[in-house]
Subunit: 125 residues, 2 copies
């Protein structure tokens, strides 16, 4: 997956959606950008405890390629890059809502732990 674009062939819609959302941090990036609107690289990094810089850009680049994320570069020094969701990114995030609810119910059911929240103010869960 790493280098080339994700373009099927697919068995069905879920298959196609999973293709762009699969990746350890992608759904989290989506959620983070959804909640904050716009984030710089370093902010995103701080918002996702445990992510490596390499995986973060790799995922961001893939999501940009897939039309989920918009990347705005400001030619300044020190460099400034802002990431935000595109229309398709927003709609994907919406489509994930019911799955998120199912997952939250599952966490309760099996009594799974949560990764300690880094920022209660965003209201994320």
């Amino acid at each position: 997956m790493a280098a080339s674009a994700r373009r099927g062939p697919y068995f069905c819609g879920i298959d196609a959606a999973m293709d762009v959302v699969a990746g350890k941090w992608k759904s989290l990036i989506l959620w983070e950008l959804h909640n904050s609107g716009t984030r710089r690289f370093a902010e995103l990094r701080r918002g996702l405890p445990g992510v490596s810089e390499k995986m973060l850009i790799q995922h961001l680049r893939e999501m940009e390629e897939d039309g989920l994320v918009h990347r705005e570069v400001y030619r300044e020094v020190p460099p400034k890059v802002e990431y935000s969701l595109t229309e398709h990114g927003v709609s994907l995030n919406d489509a994930l809502t019911s799955l998120g609810e199912w997952g939250t119910a599952r966490i309760r059911r099996i009594g799974a732990e949560r990764v300690p929240a880094h920022d209660a103010a965003t209201g994320r869960q």
Copy 2:
């Protein structure tokens, strides 16, 4: 993931849901069982063109462990085993509906190919 159960810790609900649904064939197994109610091992295999026997049982075992799939063994010769969705499997499949619609729209958008359907009668897409 292979051997041990999927039990977090999770960042959020989507993370938890993705954990049980991640795997090349899992969403397809869910869909197949949802559409047919009950399937034997070999029927499932035929329904998922390209899957290897190894991956099929591995995924089925994990989904059973995660409480998504029910496995009914009939002590006959030749062996007969029937797989079906549990209550949780059904609800997960429901929760995936909107994601599937998003994916179907994406397939249209990017003009991706589909894996040639094996059985038009099930109405799957």
